[in-house]
Point group: C2
Chain length 445, copies 2
């Protein structure tokens, strides 16, 4: 059996490794258009902060190890330009030209790409995105070699926020700009204000309501033209979001889902049963709504890669779906969420109520405590928890997981409020903040 | 209606406050035999480490506030010596003698007491237990005033371990002794060895297999006589365990449960419907086995106190029970558990299998990572998770909670392994250690 994989990052290489472990005789080929496979993309903002570390530290396993130790045919610099599900073949372009390869099973693991606003000068030197390891290398080299002093970040999502911290810790002036009026639109206002304060407290300038209209070179750097202002800087990072790389699937008439991600079932099969899709290019079921969503995150990419390998090896596979659990660090803050926000819950037809509490990260009178803000959303009709958000200097990153598990089991606020959670003075108050918020929220149900 | 409460710590004062909030006209009286109510007992080992802090910092709300702000009749130094459920009255002893009080509803919240081995000289000056705030004050005063240099701790449970850290940080030589051969008998050996190494690495001497036979004064301090050796020290802390203060209930012919804790239903009623019991003196249902257990912990005490107040106020109450979730700090380590150990699972009639993994506290190549050891126990017949244990320098205390929630919902290992948990490089690997161990454990099911 011949298993071809398009894309050699989290989903693709997880599938390749697991498939080879499941069926040692399997013929596995990975086509990767860049020169890197299997690296920790999420680690780039942290690597960037340390001039002494090479970006290559983030490579978990280099291509030659996959080839030599695992017998996987990894082809770097090979781009799949067309797939033919019915004919069971793909068309590949490399430096030498184009060739075709046949498959029994195919995995599309092409990931996602940064959205680039269509404005004049956006391809200028000094304008970056951060997605591939190559992007990371280029930014790091540029900042260090050019002794950059001022960065502008377009967008205020996870990556934008992590990069704001990275640039600040390298000593750059950082200005973040977005056209919309809210920092984190999905976040409860109280919590979002805490994040805002953290950014401002670390000298990050935030500008809302400005659209990028053009990028010019002004001799010493870049001149960015916005709706009603201009900013001079050394570099511009575009981090306004990503979109799934689903063109191959679309051109092959495979079904697409939300945000044009490739539609897959709980076995990660596309609308053609011999073609799988996994990772950031594929959609998923949401455990709260049961509906399709596109929430591209690293754990899902790895997990769905394994699921593909198991399914094509004849194992039973039935993926539950995603809860949209995420955490990120903003300077000293841990910012975490799972499930639906109040607005999302309303849009999904629930009758949502929300509660926000302030708690502490350590017990009464224990030194070093800081404030934890915790929000919980529940459905008034069923009493079910729909989502949770947390912000604080410590104790948020892992706390969100107990609510995530609750979402997987459709737990009610009442049930959750009775959970027997751990307590010791160095780690929290007797009532965990998620218990405290559920106790308060109960009164609104 | 007259509501009497015996014992003014976590369960008692939670019940008093909540009952008064539920029914402002309620006549609430609390009898507390010591001079303290409502303090963070768990905080004492940490308070002890700081000579500048008063032990009274741990008082969450002093008695006069309960009296003046909440209208609760708190009587310090009043000990209830007998209860008469049928006659609806209690007999109280204070400095002036004995008197009786009638009740409509009674709560026994007498907590637990340290077990004191019955050996010669155990009441000597310099021998301590740590349970009440008074105990904490006495130890702190003794250590600071006598410039103590060497402490022996009898026992190696939570409190013993926390106190080992407290004494070491005050500069004392610490020797821990127990008769049995294992540090934490309920813990997986690999994890227990990590805790052992941490203690030894911080200069704590551990002696196993020695029974205390007698305590003598030797002029400069204490001479402890064990089965086959003697130790000189300035002070001895007895921390070999606690037992429920259930004598009042026993004398009144109320039903007792495991470990002679007072048997209560899911509404916290004893075998007499007008008499409740809550906190460390009462038993509970275990969410994994459905059977009665005695696992005295702070969160349960608070929660069951509230439950009593709600039930006597006419609200519907149905407590789920405990999972035995606990965490404690041993020097730099976070040690956490929930549910059953392998041995406990075997004793309860399950067909348990176990897996232990080593993982990291931060992502691949993220600086500052340390090792996390995670063990999971599951039932081979049902595939259910039965318990989990974790040890590591960071990221264990709150991680255990997601497994605790899973226990409340009888989650299988397969279901848990699909949980959508949070990931970001500063906070863990892509696969949370609890997911990693569940993935591994699946292969044994």
């Amino acid at each position: 059996m011949r298993f071809l994989i398009v894309g050699g990052d989290a989903a693709g290489m997880s599938a390749a490794s697991r498939a080879k472990r499941n069926i040692p005789g399997l013929d596995v080929t990975v086509f990767e258009r860049t020169q890197d496979v299997s690296y920790s993309a999420c680690g780039m903002p942290y690597n960037l902060q340390d001039p002494k570390r090479s970006m290559d530290d983030l490579v978990v396993r280099p291509a030659h190890v996959f080839r030599e130790k695992q017998g996987i045919d990894v082809r770097l610099g090979h781009e799949v330009v067309r797939i033919d599900p019915q004919g069971h073949k793909v068309f590949v372009r490399d430096q030498g030209g184009e060739y075709e390869e046949g498959f029994d099973k195919l995995l599309i693991a092409t990931g996602a790409s940064p959205i680039i606003p269509n404005v004049e000068g956006i391809r200028q030197r000094g304008v970056f995105v951060l997605k591939s390891l190559g992007d990371g290398r280029r930014i790091k080299e540029f900042v260090l070699n050019n002794k950059s002093r001022a960065a502008v970040i377009l967008g205020m999502g996870y990556i934008a926020l992590e990069m704001a911290e990275a640039f600040r810790s390298l000593g750059l002036k950082v200005t973040m700009v977005k056209p919309r009026p809210k920092l984190l639109p999905w976040m409860n206002q109280t919590l979002s204000d805490v994040v805002l304060g953290e950014l401002q407290g670390h000298g990050v300038e935030l500008i809302f309501g400005e659209d990028l209209k053009g990028v010019e070179e002004d001799g010493r750097g870049l001149l960015l033209k916005f709706s009603s202002m201009e900013i001079s800087c050394d570099l511009l990072l575009v981090a306004v979001g990503i979109r799934p790389n689903s063109e191959l699937a679309k051109d092959a008439a495979l079904e697409l889902g939300p945000s044009d991600a490739i539609s897959v079932n709980r076995q990660m099969q596309t609308s053609h049963p011999d073609v799988y899709a996994a990772g950031d290019c594929a959609d998923a079921y949401h455990v709260v709504t049961g509906k399709k969503v596109w929430i591209p995150l690293a754990l899902r990419a790895n997990r769905s890669g394994y699921a593909v390998a198991d399914h094509l090896s004849g194992k039973e596979v039935e993926l539950q779906g995603v809860a949209g659990t995420a955490v990120f660090k903003v300077f000293e803050l841990e910012v975490a969420r799972t499930g639906l926000s109040l607005e999302e819950a309303r849009r999904e037809g629930f009758d949502p109520v929300e509660e926000v509490i302030e708690s502490r990260s350590r017990a009464h009178a224990h030194p070093g405590a800081s404030t934890i803000y915790c929000e919980m959303v529940a459905d008034k009709r069923s009493g079910r928890i729909l989502g949770c958000q947390m912000v604080g200097k410590e104790g948020c990153a892992h706390r969100i997981n107990s609510v995530a598990v609750a979402l997987h089991k459709n737990m009610t606020v009442e049930e959750y409020s009775q959970a027997d959670l751990a307590y010791a003075p160095p780690f929290g108050p007797v009532w965990d903040p998620t218990l405290l918020v559920s106790n308060q929220l109960l009164r609104k149900l």
